[in-house]
Amino acid sequence: MRNTQIFLCLVLLAVCAAVTAFAGDIKVIANPSVGASSVSADEIKGVFLATKTSLSDGSHVEPVLEKDGPAHEAFLKQFIGKTDTALETYYRSLVFTGKASMPKTLPADAEMVAYVAKTKGAIGYVSAGASTAGVKTLEVK
């Protein structure tokens, strides 16, 4: 019993370490019209699961997703906690009940940056190494 608890604690520590390790792989970007300069993980999850449409400072935001790719995988894993299929099912159920529309989906980092840069209130993510010209990088708290 005691051994099991110790094991669980160790696993938890390992997971935390892994998350910390991934955090550096992507960065969250937003259209410069978004007032906030930092955003919490919960806010990100809320925005991308369409349960929030604005950030804590009151600026309206609209989530933009990448179609696939390592940044997308990492983002889903780090913030959303759903697989890509599950997320699509989730969004379809929202569409079916009329609560939300399917989010904009872009094929890669470059399109993402370009779209976010030109779309007011857009919030998205790119690989840590991608160029973020014309967009605002939000600090994840």
Partner: protein, 475 residues
């Protein structure tokens, strides 16, 4: 009401009570029949309607879920099944619309809902059919959104219909319950009113027919008792007064009796004295008679004396004549003696003596004759007086006779008086006895009055008890 006796009145009250009980029972029966009819309507219309609408809603929810699954999971195989659920919902709604016991408004509403649901089902089958295979274009998303809002509306309408039907059912049931409660309350009220009316009648009956008369009787008896007490007091007082008066009277009567005794004695004495007087009178009369007879004798004696006197007068005349003759003879002798000279001298002295004697005899005879004449005169006067005395004695005798008669009458009267007084004495002694008896009676009356007072007090106590039993103090 007033003519009935108490038993009849009490039975009347009980009758009112029974009538009220029967009335309330009949009312409950009537109302429970109404309630049964209402319950039948509920069980034949409202309940199945509610059930059907519930089924319809359930089928609709299954349909929505089926479509949702198909769209979300992109699995077209569930579409038919969902459409089947939708048709079931429509059929259930149509069945509800055709139930005869529902209100026309409710039927029409359900019919409209069935039609719109049918329309919605057709659209959904088409749009979700397209959406369940492949990605969702913007226009498709718009259509899905519109459909979702329609679904929402339909769902809301169904929920509303369900709620309404449930509310109908509930309303009906609660109306039933309310009416049942009302009914029982009403029956209870009727029963209570009957009870109150019967109670009031019983109360009034008792008050009017039992308590009232009893109270009146009590009041009357109390008044009579008071009157009796007053009368008894008066009686005691007057009894005592009568007793005192009677005692006084007895004393007076005793005095009277004593006086009467005295009077009786005096009267008897009077009678005795009258008798004595009578006897004395008789004696006096006899004496007077004797005196009268003596007077007669005296009269005859006087007559005899008168006669004797006359005879004596005759004798005296003879003596006078003798004296005269003697004188003459003496004279003759003197003459003869004188002639005879001295021889005759002695003789002449004798003759003188004889002559003086003759003179003296004649004088004595004349004196005696005068005396005798006087005597005769006196005797005749005495005879006259004796006659007068005799007449007076006669008058006295008559007067004495009258007096004796009067005295006899007085004696008789006195006797009668004595008898009367004795009678009065007897009457007085009888009166005395009666007075003594009156005194005793008066004392008895006074005792009776005091006994009566005691009885009246007892009566009052009983009356108080009766008043307490009746429970009225104001009587």
């Amino acid at each position: 009401m007033r003519r009935l006796n108490i038993t009849a009145k009490i039975w009347l009250s009980v009758g009112v009570f029974i009538f009220g009980y029967l009335l309330s029972t009949a009312l409950s029966q009537f109302q429970s029949r109404e309630a049964c009819a209402s319950l039948r309507a509920t069980s034949e219309a409202l309940f199945p309607a509610a059930q059907r609408i519930q089924e319809a809603e359930a089928a609709f929810q299954r349909m929505v879920k089926g479509f949702g699954d198909a769209v979300v999971m992109q699995d077209a195989s569930g579409l038919d099944r969902a459409a089947e659920d939708g048709r079931q919902a429509v059929a259930a709604l149509k069945a509800v619309a055709s139930i005869s016991g529902l209100s026309s408004e409710r039927s029409a509403e359900t019919g409209r809902l069935a039609l719109s649901l049918d329309q919605l089902l057709a659209d959904a089958r088409r749009i979700y059919g397209a959406a369940s295979s492949g990605t969702l274009s913007e226009s498709m998303q718009d259509e899905i959104r519109t459909l979702a809002s329609r679904m929402e509306e339909a769902s809301a309408a169904l929920a509303k219909a369900k709620e309404e039907s449930a509310a109908d059912l509930h309303r009906q049931l609660s109306a039933l319950e309310t009416s049942s409660v009302h009914q029982s309350s009403f029956a209870l009220a009727v029963f209570a009113i009957t009870l109150i009316v019967a109670g009031a009648i019983v109360h009034l009956t008792i008050k009017r027919s039992i308590t009232g008369p009893v109270v009146r009787v009590i009041a009357g008896v109390q008044e009579a008792a008071n009157e009796s007490a007053r009368a008894a007091a008066q009686m005691a007082q007057s009894g005592a007064e009568v007793s005192n008066n009677a005692q006084e009277q007895a004393a007076c009567i005793e005095e009277t009796s004593a006086s009467l005794e005295e009077i009786s004695a005096t009267t008897r004495q009077n009678a005795d004295r009258a008798g004595e007087a009578d006897r004395l009178m008789q004696t006096v009369r006899q004496t007077v008679e004797r005196a009268a007879r003596s007077m007669d004798d005296l009269n005859s004696s006087m007559t005899l004396i008168s006669k004797s006197s006359q005879q004596v007068a005759g004798v005296l005349k003879n003596i006078d004549e003798i004296a005269f003759h003697t004188n003459i003879l003496a004279l003759n002798a003197a003459v003869e003696a004188a002639r005879a000279g001295e021889a005759g001298a002695g003789f002449s002295v004798v003759a003188d003596e004889v002559r003086s004697l003759a003179h003296r005899a004649a004088e004595a005879a004349r004196n005696s004759s005068a005396i005798i004449d006087q005597t005769v005169e006196h005797v005749s006067k005495g005879v006259e007086l004796v006659g007068q005395a005799h007449a007076a004695f006669q008058q006295v005798s008559v007067t004495i006779g009258n007096g004796s008669q009067i005295v006899s009458q007085i004696a008789a009267s006195s006797d009668e008086q004595a008898r009367g007084v004795s009678n009065i004495g007897q009457a007085v002694s009888r009166i005395e006895q009666l007075t003594q008896r009156n005194v005793a009676n008066a004392q008895q009356t006074a005792e009776g009055a005091s006994e009566m007072t005691t009885q009246v007090e007892g009566t009052r106590k009983y009356l108080d008890e009766l008043v307490a039993v009746v429970g009225l103090r104001n009587a």
